[in-house]
């Protein structure tokens, strides 16, 4: 057993209101740059819907993820290593800008500078790719809230899969979802245990951090061979068309390292995101990802997660140098609790065999809403259970998303959520709670209340249990001062805050964790507005706390050459 730690996330879909705050704050922090205009490390899709990029789940077309060969081995769906190298000169399948959308801005100047006249000035849309006038025809969430679902709903690959499974012709199913069933699916990179993006990268530039499992692209090693874009079945690797490098969600590692939640989690309006540690057995990952029946993948993935209370696991973890603070965090981990203890969180598309580490609690609310609308008692256990059984389409749909089509697992999870609703209603109304309800879904009364506390009350400290890297450094028996020296021990050292020999763009960069660590400390101890001195006249939005308008927040006005 070789124990490794993995930062994971759980999203409770019942609570997502589809406000896109997470996407916007993420964009502001990470992809508000030229070359990444169309890049959404976090996006929120309405389901049923095509997703972003359009129909990314259609792996027959996009060829992402892994497949199991007849001999039981895993190989990339896009082809083996030789094939990848032979086709490297032009990637055989890769989404084009059309499959995302052409990013645009508006010609705001026309509003401000229009001469006095009778006509209202118009700000025309301008393409951010060509700079020319453009027509807006699609975006990252064009089909939000089922917009256009009646014409395009059948284009959802999951609807196709559900139809195929039920043996119904595409046109024939009336778009029942439209009235009865809709939910939001926020997506980030899954920080997979068996990432196919990484396996597709010819340069080996994508790596998984041994400490916390975060998957990153080394921007200095990426050579723009762009195979990872095809490799990732979730299409969560994007090509920065200006720098010519692949970019992806970073799990906000500079924040995670100092113990604060990711931007998307911190700003989530529904407070539905949970962050915490999983412990898993690295040696078993490949075997788990290679099980024969797709429907066993969810169980195989659960089996990888180790019990942080098990003395044998603790011993093995210590041997691997995982510090006590981290083991403690693993024991308090909300994501472990939701995924493995209460078993209400499910992985997205386990059938891609990448072992994704962002888990989802499937939504019960569409069913509750429907019952309430029809005048039923939507808090009653039997009514809810009956509805879960009767409403086949929602369950089938969720099963295609989360369990490779295994409706039993989804039904079990929804029943647990329904039981929690029914049981807790009695508790809140001061009625005698029915102990039979938790028992009927295999929980005790205490664990049901604990689950309720974690899912419904969801206190900040319980949602985010993030061990810091300084604990890691302590573990390496580093003296406080040495530790600083250690983290500053990269090529040119802290001197890099000045310019290197060949101007600003030359030399090695300061590691971003060092930069943010210093800035955070400065901010916390000084009370003054965020200083921009360490960033050569620019403001790092990751650290800006909205306090005043620090120097460098806006670009300096330029002289005559504009």
């Amino acid at each position: 057993m070789r124990v490794m730690a993995q930062m994971g996330m759980v999203m409770n879909l019942d609570k997502c209101i589809g406000c896109h705050t997470c996407s916007v704050t993420c964009k502001q922090a990470w992809t508000n740059r030229a070359g990444t205009e169309y890049v959404w490390f976090n996006n929120v899709e309405t389901r049923p819907g095509q997703g972003y990029p359009r129909r990314y789940e259609d792996q027959e077309k996009w060829r992402g993820g892994w497949v199991r060969t007849r001999r039981g081995r895993l190989t990339l769906r896009g082809g083996n290593r030789f094939r990848k190298l032979l086709t490297i000169f032009a990637s055989p399948v890769q989404p084009e800008l059309e499959d995302y959308y052409e990013p645009w801005t508006y010609d705001y100047k026309a509003l401000i500078e229009a001469p006095l006249g009778d006509d209202f000035p118009v700000a025309r849309p301008k393409s951010l790719i060509t700079g020319e006038d453009t027509k807006i025809t699609w975006s990252a969430n064009w089909d939000d809230d089922l917009g256009g679902a009646s014409e395009m709903g059948h284009l959802d690959p999951i609807v196709e899969a559900v139809n195929a499974a039920r043996g119904e012709a595409n046109e024939k199913i009336r778009f029942e979802f439209e009235k009865t069933f809709m939910f939001y699916l926020p997506r980030i990179c899954e920080h997979c245990l068996n990432p196919s993006c990484m396996a597709s990268c010819p340069s080996g530039a994508i790596y998984k951090r041994a400490e916390d499992g975060i998957v990153l692209v080394d921007q200095d090693r990426c050579r723009g061979w762009r195979q990872c874009i095809t490799g990732c079945p979730y299409k969560k690797i994007y090509f920065n068309h200006k720098s010519g490098k692949a970019e992806k969600c970073t799990f906000c590692y500079p924040r995670i390292e100092v113990g604060i939640p990711t931007v998307c989690s911190e700003t989530c309006v529904g407070r539905l995101r949970y962050l915490g540690l999983f412990l898993y057995d690295v040696d078993k990952v490949t075997a788990a990802a290679s099980v024969e029946d797709e429907k066993d993948l969810y169980e195989a993935q659960l089996d990888l997660l180790l019990d942080p209370n098990d003395p044998a696991v603790i011993r093995a973890a210590k041997e691997q140098g995982i510090p006590d603070d981290w083991l403690d965090a693993a024991r308090r981990s909300p994501v472990y609790a939701l995924a493995k203890v209460y078993k209400v969180a499910l992985p997205l598309h386990p059938e891609y065999r990448t072992m994704p580490m962002v888990w989802y609690v499937p939504p019960l609310s569409p069913i509750v809403d429907l019952l309430a609308k029809q005048g039923h008692d939507a808090e009653d256990r039997d009514t809810l259970f009956g509805a879960i059984d009767a409403l086949r389409i929602p369950v089938d749909y969720l099963a295609e998303l989360f369990t490779a089509g295994d409706t039993e697992v989804v039904t079990r999870v929804l029943q647990r959520l329904a039981a929690m609703r029914a049981y807790m209603r009695d508790v809140t109304l001061d009625r005698e709670p029915d102990a039979g309800i938790p028992a009927s879904v295999g929980l005790t009364e205490e664990s049901m209340r604990a689950m309720y506390r974690l899912m419904a009350i969801a206190k900040y400290e319980e949602r985010y249990v993030i061990p810091t890297v300084s604990a890691l450094d302590h573990q390496q028996k580093a003296h406080e001062l040495e530790e600083l020296a250690c983290s500053l021990d990269y090529d040119e050292g802290p001197g890099m805050y000045g310019s290197a020999a060949f101007g600003e763009a030359s030399g090695r960069p300061a590691p971003v964790a060092v930069e943010t660590f210093q800035a955070l400390r400065q901010r916390q101890t000084s009370g003054a507005e965020t200083s921009s001195s360490s960033l050569r006249g620019r403001v790092n939005l990751l650290n800006w706390d909205g306090n005043g308008s620090p120097e460098g927040l806006f670009p300096e006005a330029h002289g005559g050459d504009e």
């Binding site: 190298l85 084009e96 998984k208 200095d220 490098k245």
Partner: protein
């Protein structure tokens, strides 16, 4: 004059090529990329790029063979000059024309696809001019040789010894000077191409990812190891603001 061209220039070229590559690797790893334009357009790219690349790789193999393997070796192996010559010209012209057709498609695509043209830097344009010149002039030497039949100039008795002598630090200027004019021009343009190589997007060829065949699929790296090359960076290339009005003022890599 001959000494300058064939005795000094090669060393200047080599110095630029090697020094420039080291410099670029040291200071601009972030700019070291193919700068793929497939996101904008892939229909033409899918034809042009493989055609060009496969062609040019064969051309490279041909050059290595012709310049490095001495005539005495092929003679010893019993390959007659005629047979060798026929093969070289036959395969050489096929590879050469593939390359030319490929690059013609690529350039047409660059010019005609709006976004691709927008993403073309001055640096790219210069590189294309020299690259195309080298390819066309190379084909010219081949065509002249084919036209001349048996009377064709045997570059393996002039250019090749000179090329090898460069690396013995004892350039055989006379042999090279004796070669016909088309070889002279092709070689000169070739030297220019190699001299600018490290400063263009062509550097991608130096990091051809052959190690992909041998590395494990999953890469684990420790936080500490990566400290020197953080995956993102503030106030570095790659963090230019979004916009259209100012897009011409935004420096692109290599513009």
């Amino acid at each position: 004059m001959d000494v300058v061209l064939w005795g000094v220039l090669p060393y200047l070229t080599l110095a630029l090529l090697i020094g420039g590559t080291i410099w670029r690797y040291r200071f601009d790893k972030f700019g070291w990329t193919t700068r793929s334009s497939q996101l904008y357009e892939s229909r033409l790219l899918r034809i042009g790029s493989p055609l060009f690349h496969v062609g040019i790789l064969f051309v490279v193999v041909g050059h290595v063979g012709g310049l490095i393997v001495p005539e005495s070796l092929t003679d010893a192996l019993g390959i007659s000059e005629n047979l060798y010559h026929f093969n070289a010209l036959f395969f050489g012209s096929i590879a050469g024309f593939c390359t030319l057709a490929g690059i013609a498609i690529l350039i047409y695509r660059r010019r005609r696809t709006g976004p691709v043209f927008m993403a073309t830097t001055k640096n790219d344009k210069l590189m294309y001019v020299i690259l195309v010149a080298a390819i066309v002039l190379g084909l010219w030497t081949t065509v002249v040789s084919i036209g001349a039949g048996h009377a064709a100039h045997n570059y393996r008795e002039s250019v090749s010894p000179w090329f090898r002598s460069i690396f013995w630090l004892h350039p055989d200027v006379e042999s090279m000077a004796a070669a016909p004019i088309q070889f002279h021009i092709h070689t000169l343009v070739g030297m220019v191409l190699f001299a600018i190589w490290p400063f263009t997007r062509l550097v991608h060829a130096f990091t051809a990812p052959l190690h992909y065949l041998f590395r494990p699929y999953i890469v684990y790296r420790s936080r500490d190891e990566v400290a020197g090359s953080a995956a993102t960076r503030a106030s570095r290339p790659g963090w230019a603001p979004v916009g259209t009005a100012d897009r011409d003022h935004q420096p692109r890599e290599g513009r």
